[in-house]
Symmetry: C2
Subunit: 242 residues, 2 copies
Amino acid sequence: MARQTIRKYSSRDVAPELLNRLFSLAARTQTMGNLQLYSVIVTRSSEQKAALAPAHFNQPMVTQAPVVLTICADFRRTSVWARCRKAEPGYDNLLSFMNAATDALLFTQTFCDLAEAEGLGLCFLGTTIYQPQHIINVLQLPALTFPVATLTVGWPAERPPLTDRLPTDAFVHNETYHDPTPKDIDKFYELKESLPENLEFVRINNKETLAQIFTDIRYTRRDNEAMTQTLLEALRQQQFIR
Amino acid sequence: MARQTIRKYSSRDVAPELLNRLFSLAARTQTMGNLQLYSVIVTRSSEQKAALAPAHFNQPMVTQAPVVLTICADFRRTSVWARCRKAEPGYDNLLSFMNAATDALLFTQTFCDLAEAEGLGLCFLGTTIYQPQHIINVLQLPALTFPVATLTVGWPAERPPLTDRLPTDAFVHNETYHDPTPKDIDKFYELKESLPENLEFVRINNKETLAQIFTDIRYTRRDNEAMTQTLLEALRQQQFIR
């Protein structure tokens, strides 16, 4: 109940042994056919952090965290294994990408749960799939790998307040999906819309509603459509689509 | 270190209060813009379990588990909220699907970690994205929702042996991706290829290598390409691609 995203880190290093233990434990997560369709790229060098930063809109965590982890969907290792064993892999398609992305994200989240339990602070960067080509170049990711998550990792140097969440009614459905009515929407979003910081957000952006902050500023149709094209091009270049 | 996939469950029910508490805790997982782009459909009725089963190749867990959870990428609720608030959502695109799928999978895995810590047994069904249209119909999933994970949930009635995992070297890369050499492959897969159950698998299937079990039987090019088409059609029908 107390977990929070941590964006500021102390200067204390994250020991490679600790990271390795957490990777090894996180790898107990279920995985498709026990193939472990993921890779983690560990970035510790200042040069590589600086090179990654633009792909994440230069958010300061990327250069300030002791460790940056880029987790990739990976059918490359499995395909190399197959070719070394007289087997012909057929994983250059979107279904295989989704299978590997699923494996990678499940592994990522167990890692997060374990790392946070250990006292580490994390920030999950959703920007990873916005400019994947840049990350692919910096980390030298070969065909049939694709970055799906980035974590900045360190020991917390802040304790931000808890953020709100929707009531479980908003996202739990019994037996079939129940489309929310306007009345449901009022109930689900009442707390979020009444928070002073959100009211202030709306005011300083000259918007009428909080939802407009998301549709008009943070996640616009224009950006989503442009980044969909970038995503498709990167998937093509990494040979997950043809 | 002791977690295992559980496919057999006792007749003991999973209390709705327990499930709800776990949903509420799992919802503390980081989420894009704090939008919580996921939904969970809880299936308890025998009729609905029987209706879902074919989408999961009739694996017996689906009808035998007390609870089946289908976790969906969901931009529907957020879009309805936007329309109720004079905001024009633009989430009918592949980037938005990936954002919502990411949110849904991270939420799913925290739920798994918490549920297993509570003593529950889970099986994650990767079949969810193989025949999504069937699941969409049974659960009446509207446009801008998409099933990305299924869990069968119950109290364990088995204690299967631990499965193997690759050494961390196989999936952890420092600074840049290091393509595995044939020698690396031998080292990474040595344990897996030497397990008696895997040797037996190769023998009874008249194959030369374990990798061929995956490429020729379990996850073939032909199936992957056919299911890529099914996936694309379902994404189109749910309005995430045009």
